[in-house]
Symmetry: C2
Subunit: 284 residues, 2 copies
């Protein structure tokens, strides 16, 4: 990997874990942290996650061969507007956001002529967030989705592929559209459903949540995730999130009808279909 300097904007869980993983796998270049909170950046420096830091966008990206956007997706546009005139000629910008179509549509037109943008999404996360939760093996065996479009530079794509593979991730190439529908279904939708399930239990009786066993705990663990982050993901993948919500709503209505009609055979068939599919991912 020929990046002499990498600037990571947003030293949260993903940004910090990326820095740690690169170090562990022998990356010898410089890693600069960039963000709004000096306290966080100082902590990252003390934990030897980054080599130096800046809170000034224009300063932090100077001479960087690679800039990684690892902040909230909602901040990308503003950040790129701040840094675009200060990027090194030939630099690559990449990101780690959970939505891709919207990011490509927004950022591609902002990139200077000699800067190449590669959109990416490592499928890794924990309910625990922030620099203090970073680990050097977060991406080990994780998938990292890269979503080139018609204008994507092949050389830059290969370099970002190598970057993620160095961290232990397996890269997968997908169109932005396929990515956004897939992750609306397998990630964004389950988060909304988990939040909604908790709220409906509260609506029934706020006192009863504590009677839930291990099943409810596991089921709703993702409801511990950051509301602001999930608000932003929904906002930036609105159409696909809506599409999956409506599909889920239909599936739920079907279940409700079977219960209403006491059609237990059909209800069991629905349960069995789901279980069979779920068993397949268990054995993966």
């Amino acid at each position: 990997m020929d990046f002499k300097k990498i600037t990571i904007i947003g030293v949260g869980l993903i940004g910090s874990s990326l820095a740690l993983a690169l170090r562990k796998k022998g990356y010898k270049g410089r890693i600069t942290g960039l963000g709004r909170s000096e306290e966080t950046l100082k902590m990252a420096l003390e934990l030897e996650i980054i080599d130096d830091y800046s809170t000034v966008h224009t300063e932090g990206v100077k001479d960087a061969d690679l800039v990684v956007l690892a902040s909230s997706v909602a901040l990308y546009e503003q950040i790129v507007n701040n840094i675009k005139d200060h990027l090194k000629e030939g630099a690559i910008v990449t990101d780690v956001g959970s939505v891709k179509g919207d990011v490509l549509r927004t950022l591609t037109p902002l990139m200077p002529e000699n800067v190449r943008f590669i959109a990416g999404h490592p499928i890794a996360g924990r309910e625990c967030s922030g620099v203090k939760c970073a680990t050097d093996d977060l991406f080990e065996n994780a998938k990292c989705i890269l979503t080139p479009d018609a204008g994507t530079d092949e050389t830059a794509l290969r370099q970002i592929k190598e970057l993620w593979e160095l961290t232990g991730a397996r890269t997968v190439i997908m169109s932005p559209e396929e990515h956004d529908l897939t992750f609306a279904a397998v990630s964004h939708l389950p988060h909304i459903v988990a939040y909604s399930l908790i709220n409906s239990i509260l609506d029934i009786n706020g006192e009863i949540l504590r009677y839930g066993g291990g099943g409810l705990r596991d089921f709703t663990r993702i409801a511990l995730s950051s509301p602001a982050m999930w608000r932003d993901i929904c906002a930036h993948n609105r159409d696909e999130v809506l599409r999956t919500l409506k599909t889920f709503s239909s599936s739920l209505s079907r279940m409700i009808s079977f219960v209403e009609e006491s059609d237990w055979a059909s209800l069991e068939k629905e349960f069995a279909r789901a279980r069979e599919a779920r068993q397949l991912i268990e054995s993966n």
Copy 2:
């Protein structure tokens, strides 16, 4: 505990784990296994979970001071009709089913005059089912709900309370109605939602389930549970399940409206409300 002989009808996960837990905590009496599958009963005997077994209801309950119904709830009525004329005078019958109102309404009128019925529900389970998954610590620190009604014998209730406390469970007294609404909300509803979520992902695209990360895995683990068992639970707690499904459906519709209207502040508020409540059960 003064039960000289306990007969457990259904040596699945719960029935077998109860036997193992009682033994571990020093129960000295006889434990008889009763069920339809001789293969299962033989295995339970070989694993020293039970002392002897029978596949004949009338034989197996003979002389038992306590009979534990640990089969599917759907079989209770038939089983009790088979055994009722063979129960020992003064025996206690109890159960471990996930629904209580329906069980009490069905079984109470069937009990002979000198036999007392205590309805119970240990909140313990695993996705793994059957005698091979039984453990002697399944009830350790678990809640066990007992649901007496107006006709319940206080002495028998106390004895069943002691039985569960011996296994390490903490007993909670609740009305059957309160139990059924509570567990419709915190257990039955989440199972239906998990099955439904998997099905909606299949409806979107059968191939994408494998892209789900650890969050989806945890979220849908309960969809590995037995479809037949959950069909029966829904059938025997129909009204409360329906009530919670409708509450959930309203909560979901609210979320869908916020996404449709791009009302991200309200969506975040919903997420935050859920997260706050979920954090409380995490710290319990």
